[in-house]
């Protein structure tokens, strides 16, 4: 790789780029001096949290910033400064020499034009002489390249006929249509499921290989760049803080912020062995920047010098991997010398905290009280046609025969792609009403049973809910005090009791009690989620349902919220039922996990067991799709990439729902395949291995057996 790079010259060179925006609050210093050289055929990862300036940088290169942006510096492309070009001049480069892929594929395509028309535009804009036949042939070729089946027919489809992953493929196809020299991908997989993310990363690699383009890959997720980037720039508050080859960054990070980003993220491939260490504080405000290093306020290493002036990017020696030709390791940190000299690691910089022991630590699971017991839960939705007429088109089994149980002090996670029914399961439990089919028992009480208002209220108190996005789950017009008082008022507490309780709650979630008079928008995302958690805890629930509790938060903040959840559980013994698409978070927080696919649970069991020895082919694929922040590991691991998307939920599937995408299915004999096509596999004790496991008789013993160990719904786990 390094030798390859040496023979190639620099295609794009950014020098001291600065971007300001005027806003009502004041001037936003979005980018404050970034420089890098991009060499042909290589991939540069730009990593940072929201507000780090990474996307603004890419938009500046494309010349797509709003007119209120003030841009300084140089962006040299083949010896010409792009910043001096007009929109018309830039449009000749855009899409031809420099192409871009955006974050949200759902809104990136014009809804009223067909895929073919939009492909055509990408081609004809730069090749006005192309004939219709050539355009068509090239479009089909490109769409096939990015993995769209039946490309010929799909040309006439409209974007809304495509799934998010498919649309992103179309966007990539348009980006590579004219063999660009540079492709900029701005969080191209953030809006997608992990299995689709793996597909898209694969397509990007193919696209890069086909075109030989240099790639700028922008992301907040260090795991994603580990497998794709050659060099990485870490940005914080509009400035690069560390720039090195990918191996260097991951094995020898120097800047405390980089260390923090790497250290604060749980690893999906390793059992939880220690408490997460969060980066304190929240991302820096770009309007009123501090005098010195913008990270100083959050940095455990910060000294007086750090607050005096901003450190510049400086070269330091090679530390580990790499050779002379590799990207020089550059860091903007006054304390870099000490960190290097003492070989300090994340643990040295941020210290270690001990977890609080759980109050249930000594009680075996079987002896703990059953908090929630769901049996054969089924929830259907009727699907109506789009537009004005709401005609019933079909029935979707959002949740299909799901059984699970939770005991005191434990965390059960539901994982799966979007559309797998995990959130619907959560909402069904929260409804506290008789489900369509099956039963829901809370603390031994069937929720379908007749009860007085009072009794139902008591049940309500024991189960609480935390939403994904604290921005929308807290009424923006109420001060925190009123938000926290709401559940307490339902209880009929006196004013005095409510006051005392709110004080306790604020302290419990690590906020200052005197902040209760503020409004939600005066808090950062992490603080808001703490408030949402405090509200859930207000009535002393025994079970909290968590719907993606950290996915809306910045990476550096997630660890703090995860630690809080962990501490609260250990201290209070509350149980969690937890939905997440981030499998690293699941592995860290959950004790048990259930993998869902199209409304079914396909595998369940102890979290370490399932993650280390997955048995269902879907679980295997899901885990293999999760990016790991370790380039060594990424390079060596075997990857299972699933074909296509989730089947349409309206489709009637006789046998195994996963068969259409199953890698194992393809290897089976015709006879074995027929079993998959015709019989729905039932959940059976894991590693059963015998063919007898298929028999229907086995399923009956399930309800007694499934609590004890793991269960898998696949006919052929022994074959794999």
């Amino acid at each position: 790789m390094n030798g390859f790079r040496k023979t190639h010259d620099t295609i794009l060179s950014v020098h001291d780029l600065r971007v300001n925006f005027a806003s009502e609050a004041g001037t936003v210093h979005a980018v404050r001096g970034i420089s890098f050289d991009l060499k042909r055929g290589t991939t540069l990862g730009i990593v940072g949290e929201s507000g780090s300036g990474k996307s603004v940088t890419s938009m500046a290169i494309m010349g797509l910033l709003d007119s209120n942006a003030h841009v300084e510096g140089r962006i040299d492309f083949e010896g010409e400064n792009l910043l001096e070009k007009t929109d018309a001049q830039m449009s000749e480069l855009r899409g031809k020499r420099i192409a871009m892929i955006f974050q949200d594929p759902l809104s990136a395509l014009t809804p009223v034009y067909t895929i073919g028309q939009q492909m055509r535009e990408a081609l004809v804009t730069h090749n006005p002489d192309m004939s219709e036949d050539e355009v068509r042939a090239r479009s089909v070729e490109l769409l096939t390249l990015v993995g769209i089946p039946n490309a010929e027919q799909r040309l006439n489809a409209f974007p809304h006929h495509f799934s998010g992953g498919m649309r992103q493929r179309v966007v990539i196809a348009m980006a590579i249509a004219n063999n660009p020299d540079v492709i900029i991908a701005d969080e191209p997989t953030t809006a997608l499921d992990v299995t689709i993310q793996a597909q898209i990363l694969d397509v990007l690699r193919t696209a890069q290989k086909e075109t030989g383009a240099a790639l700028i890959f922008i992301t907040h997720d260090l795991g994603v760049v580990a497998s794709i980037a050659d060099d990485i720039i870490v940005m914080y508050a509009g400035r690069p803080v560390e720039h090195a080859s990918v191996g260097e960054i991951f094995s020898h990070p120097v800047m405390p912020y980089t260390m923090g980003l790497l250290g604060a993220v749980p690893r999906p491939d390793q059992a939880k062995n220690a408490r997460l260490v969060p980066i304190p504080g929240s991302p820096t405000n770009l309007v009123n920047l501090p005098e010195g290093c913008s990270f100083a306020d959050r940095c455990p290493m910060a000294a007086d010098i750090c607050r005096a002036g901003e450190p510049q990017m400086e070269e330091i020696g090679e530390l580990g991997v790499g050779s002379e030709t590799a990207q020089a390791h550059r860091v903007a940190c006054y304390r870099a010398g000490e960190i290097l000299a003492q070989h300090m690691t994340f643990r040295d910089v941020y210290g270690m905290e001990e977890s609080i022991p759980s109050i249930f630590a000594d009680v075996p699971r079987e002896q703990r009280q059953m908090v929630l017991n769901v049996e054969h839960l089924t929830k259907t939705f009727s699907v109506s046609g789009g537009g004005f007429l709401r005609r019933r088109v079909g029935t979707v089994y959002a949740v299909n025969d799901v059984s699970l149980d939770i005991r005191e002090g434990e965390t059960v996670a539901l994982v799966g792609e979007s559309g797998s029914g995990k959130s619907t399961t959560l909402l069904q439990v929260m409804n506290l009403a008789a489900p369509e089919q099956g039963s829901i028992e809370l603390f031994g009480t069937d929720v379908a049973a007749k009860m007085s208002r009072k009794e139902r209220q008591m049940l309500h108190e024991k189960v609480q809910y935390v939403f994904q996005d604290p921005m929308s789950s807290l009424d923006p017009r109420l001060p925190i005090y009123d938000i926290l008082a709401e559940p307490l008022k339902v209880l009929g507490m006196s004013k005095q009791e409510i006051n005392t309780r709110i004080g306790e709650l604020m302290e419990l979630v690590g906020l200052k009690p005197d902040q209760v008079d503020r409004f939600p928008n005066q808090f950062s995302g992490g603080q808001r989620q703490r408030i949402a958690i405090a509200r859930a805890l207000a009535v002393n629930p025994r079970l909290i349902l968590l719907d993606e509790p950290v996915s809306a938060l910045d990476v550096s903040i997630q660890a703090g919220v995860l630690n809080l959840l962990e501490d609260l559980q250990n201290k209070l013994g509350v149980a969690y039922l937890f939905v997440a698409h981030n499998l690293s978070v699941v592995r860290h927080l959950a004790s048990r996990v259930a993998v869902m696919y199209l409304g079914h649970i396909v595998e369940a069991g102890d979290v370490d067991e399932v993650f280390d020895h997955p048995q269902h082919p879907y679980t295997k694929a899901l885990l293999s799709a999760v990016p790991v922040p370790d380039p060594e590991y990424e390079r060596q691991r075997e990857r299972i990439i699933l074909d296509g998307d989730l089947p349409s939920p309206t489709e009637k599937i006789e046998g195994c729902a996963f068969a259409s995408r199953c890698p194992l299915y393809k290897q089976l004999s015709e006879e074995q395949k027929r079993v998959c096509d015709t019989q729905r596999p039932s959940l059976v004790g894991g590693a059963a291995g015998s063919e007898g496991a298929v028999s229907a008789g086995f399923a009956d013993s399930l309800s007694t057996e499934r609590n004890t160990d793991r269960i898998v719904a696949c006919h052929w786990t022994n074959v794999a």
Binding site: M62, L64, D87, A88, S91, E92, L93, R94, G95, K96, A99, M100, F102, D104, S107, A108, L109, T110, P111, V112, Y113, T114, E121, A122, T125, H126, F158, H160, V171, M174, A175, G385, G386, G387, F388, L389, R391
Partner: protein, 327 residues
């Protein structure tokens, strides 16, 4: 598609029936045709008053239910919309006035759309520039002026021009006054009559289209797909023209479709100010004359036009927006 439209129409018929019935009872309760005769001097004999009222089926001494049933039977079986207090046929009156409304409103509607949408697009592209600010302020100003004031102001202005010019360039009443055979002169005369009411209606209509089209386009201009189009190599203006504009025209096309049916119902204020015998003016007359049947017929006709407009709007939206399917 056809099934959808059929179902829609069925629903609309029910809606229309309920609305017209409501109007009938409301009009019967609040309008007093008897007073037309009572206030005459000399007052006609009671018998002949009752006879005249009975003949038109608007006698308040007959129970309203009986009148309603009789009226409905007439409409359904003979397409007879009843008589005015002066015994003239309501149906004929409406048919004879539709033409005048059509002549008057069509041009103004077309001009409103063309001018309003163009300015809306022009200002949206120049958001926050002086052109946008000036045109927007003017539009807001015209927007809040009551239509009566606007129409009268146009008349006032035209009379000034006539006075200054010393000849009648503009006519302020009616649609025609030329009696000869020459088509050219006839048409010129028509234009001289038409121009003022058209200006007054176009002013009001165009600012509406301007302000909404501007909002629609601004919303679409910030959409992600416009950025994608620029990333493909389109300039900002090309991306807006080919992508954002196309999308922003969908809701505008819907309101255009909606307004098409409105050209038959006329413009009440304009017709009154310029003394044009269209349906708008007829509506004022019927109410002034306590013409219950005439009022209900006008309500029914406007109702049909509104619903036809609504149906057209739906069909246009489905036609322009592939995300909407009428099936």
């Amino acid at each position: 598609m056809l099934r959808y439209v059929a179902k829609r129409i069925a629903n609309y018929c029910v809606m229309l029936f309920v609305a017209i019935t409501m109007t009938y009872f409301l009009a019967s309760a609040f309008m007093d045709p008897r007073s037309n005769y009572m206030s005459r001097n000399p007052r006609p004999p009671m018998d002949s008053i009752n006879h005249a009222l009975d003949n038109a089926n608007i006698n308040d001494q007959t129970p309203v239910i009986t009148r309603y049933v009789r009226w409905l039977t007439g409409v359904v079986t003979r397409w007879d919309w009843g008589k005015a207090p002066d015994q003239s046929s309501v149906g004929e009156a409406i048919v004879s006035r539709m033409g005048a409304s059509l002549q008057l409103v069509t041009l103004a509607t077309v001009l409103s759309i063309v001018i309003g949408v163009s300015i809306g697009v022009y200002t949206a592209i120049r958001q926050y520039k002086w052109q946008d600010r000036v045109l927007n302020s003017i539009a807001t100003f015209i927007f809040v002026i009551p239509p009566a004031v606007l129409a009268v102001a146009v008349v006032f202005f035209a009379i000034e021009v006539n006075t200054v010019a010393g000849s009648r360039l503009f006519y302020v009443t009616g649609l025609h006054s030329y009696q000869g055979e020459n088509f050219g002169l006839w048409f010129l005369d028509f234009l001289q009559h038409l121009i003022l009411p058209t200006i007054s209606m176009t002013l009001g209509g165009a600012v509406g289209y301007h302000l909404t089209q501007r909002t629609y386009l601004l919303d679409e201009m910030n959409a992600d797909y416009v950025r994608t189009a620029r990333a493909k190599g389109l300039t900002l203006n090309q991306a807006i023209r080919r992508h954002a504009l196309r999308n922003s025209l969908i809701p505008t096309a819907q309101s255009v479709a909606f307004s098409i049916a409105g050209v038959f119902t006329g413009a009440t204020v304009t017709e009154s100010v310029f003394a044009i015998n269209g349906l708008g003016r007829y509506f004022v007359t019927t109410i002034g004359q306590n013409d219950i049947n005439g009022t209900v017929a006008i309500a029914a006709f406007s109702g049909v036009c509104t619903l036809v407009g609504a149906l057209l709007a739906d069909i246009v939206a489905a036609w322009l927006d592939p995300r909407i399917r009428l099936n």
